[in-house]
Symmetry: C2
Subunit: 308 residues, 2 copies
Amino acid sequence: MTLQQMEYIVAVDKYRHFVKAAESCHVTQSTLSVMIQKLEDELDVQIFNRNSHPVSPTPIGEKIISQAKVVLFNVSQLKEMILSERQQESGEVKLGVIPTVAPYILPKLFGVIAERYPGVTLRVTETRSASILEKLDKAELDVGLLATPVGRPGLLEIPVYYEKFVAYISPGESLYNREEIESGRMPTERLWVLQEGHCLRNQVMNICDQRSGYSSIYEAGSIDTLVKIVDENGGYTIIPELHLAMLTEAQKAHVRKIVDPAPVREVSLMIRQDYVRERMLNILAESIRRILPEAMIDKRLKKFAISL
Amino acid sequence: MTLQQMEYIVAVDKYRHFVKAAESCHVTQSTLSVMIQKLEDELDVQIFNRNSHPVSPTPIGEKIISQAKVVLFNVSQLKEMILSERQQESGEVKLGVIPTVAPYILPKLFGVIAERYPGVTLRVTETRSASILEKLDKAELDVGLLATPVGRPGLLEIPVYYEKFVAYISPGESLYNREEIESGRMPTERLWVLQEGHCLRNQVMNICDQRSGYSSIYEAGSIDTLVKIVDENGGYTIIPELHLAMLTEAQKAHVRKIVDPAPVREVSLMIRQDYVRERMLNILAESIRRILPEAMIDKRLKKFAISL
DNA sequence: TCATGGTTATTGATTTTATCAATACAAATA
DNA sequence: TATTTGTATTGATAAAATCAATAACCATGA
């Protein structure tokens, strides 16, 4: 029993005439005759009555034809579904990602997208929050991936994951001896932070003890550099959870959990309010989440999230 | 796109392994590989990701597989439907038919049944009502076809059609000059009727004017004979509508409508109350009705029906 | 880095199937 | 009885599915 045979019996039922039905199927009448007989043999039922003029389906043939139509309908649905999916799952997306997220997400994201959505082309710009927001405004970017909430008029935020912060401490520091560090007990005197303009800098400022004045005068350009500075010069810094994977075993020993409360940043996809490719957004969100550990997607972390 | 290919992708999705899936489909792994690639080429989508281990469907592949399952389910439904229909539409039926119905129904009934329900074998006995009822009681017959209502305990009646009576009058009779004859104006003096035992005899008695005494002393064994008797000896008789088709053109001129009210007999299928093959009954009823003019199936005639 | 085992892809030969053109056959019509 | 209209049959051919063998790929542990 084949789809082709089903098309043939549906055609003969429609035209009540083998020759006309054969034409409509773009085959000869003999093909139709043979194939329908074959089907009748296989199912061991007579579908058509060739004695009556014009040819007509038997009672059971009518039921077979009607079910065959259901089958063919679902096949056509399948094909249409593919067309519509492909349409929605293809095209170029201009994505802006902030530097303190990019190194943890992008390398795998390209692979996942290429593998799962071969029709999608990512065109990524790594740049700081302010620049991403501006470019979204000007529609120079389709989507941004950055720390939120931002609350910018005309733009929408779609939270994707929540990332905890940890402290990276030089063995010389007094904090080093604690197993965990309470958020309120982090002096800013020996703190290294990113350059002005990185949103992570502001977040770090929020975490640390505001009573003490800032005295660390060196500002780094990337988390990697920050860590190296601490290694060389002592002091401490605050780094996002995902950076742990990039530390050596020796460096991991310098990491301390921050608690009470554990600071968390919310990372979201951002789009213009008039962005219409909802499906593309889902693809991005799904693909990013696929890269991350389950726990980081948990919305319950949101309550600890800090803003700029 | 073939059903076979759909089975293949469903199997690969199930086993996540080409070799195992191939086994389950009773083909080699190379066949599966080639066929699935062919399907992917035709649809121009990647259904599976062969890089991941174990092999896994792409997002669109998942949708395709799930729709393919729907199609395959439809096909299996079709096959099961055929099995169940064939079961219900086959077997032998012992049918009893009264003599004043048999000649009009049976010749075509055999043809219709053979053509539309090749699995059904009719075994027909032509005999009078009382004998049919008896044999139904003793389960020597499965179904009876006779004039109703009978109202016999343990038996069910399923009305199939309604047949008018007409008068067949010798040109010598005074009634012959009327275009139509009122039921009440039919004297029994010159009336020929069937032998005792034919239910039609009783029905005719009911139609005719009861005030006059019966004087016709000859009783015929069949409608055909009755008509010939009238042709040869004068007088008149009453015959069922379906007999008209058996008259010559000359004889048809001797036919007069009976009106006010037009007498009608109800013809029904009868079965034992415990008869279980409901489907077979429908087949018989449908096939009989297929033989008759539309008008005779009209239930509105029931109100004119006469009983024994 | 190199084998190794497990997995899928490729290939050429072979079998099976679908299709066609031509023609036979059957039924209805004139 | 011829004729027309329609379906079945048949033998040849083209297309396809399948197989066995083997290549290519890839993760993983030595």
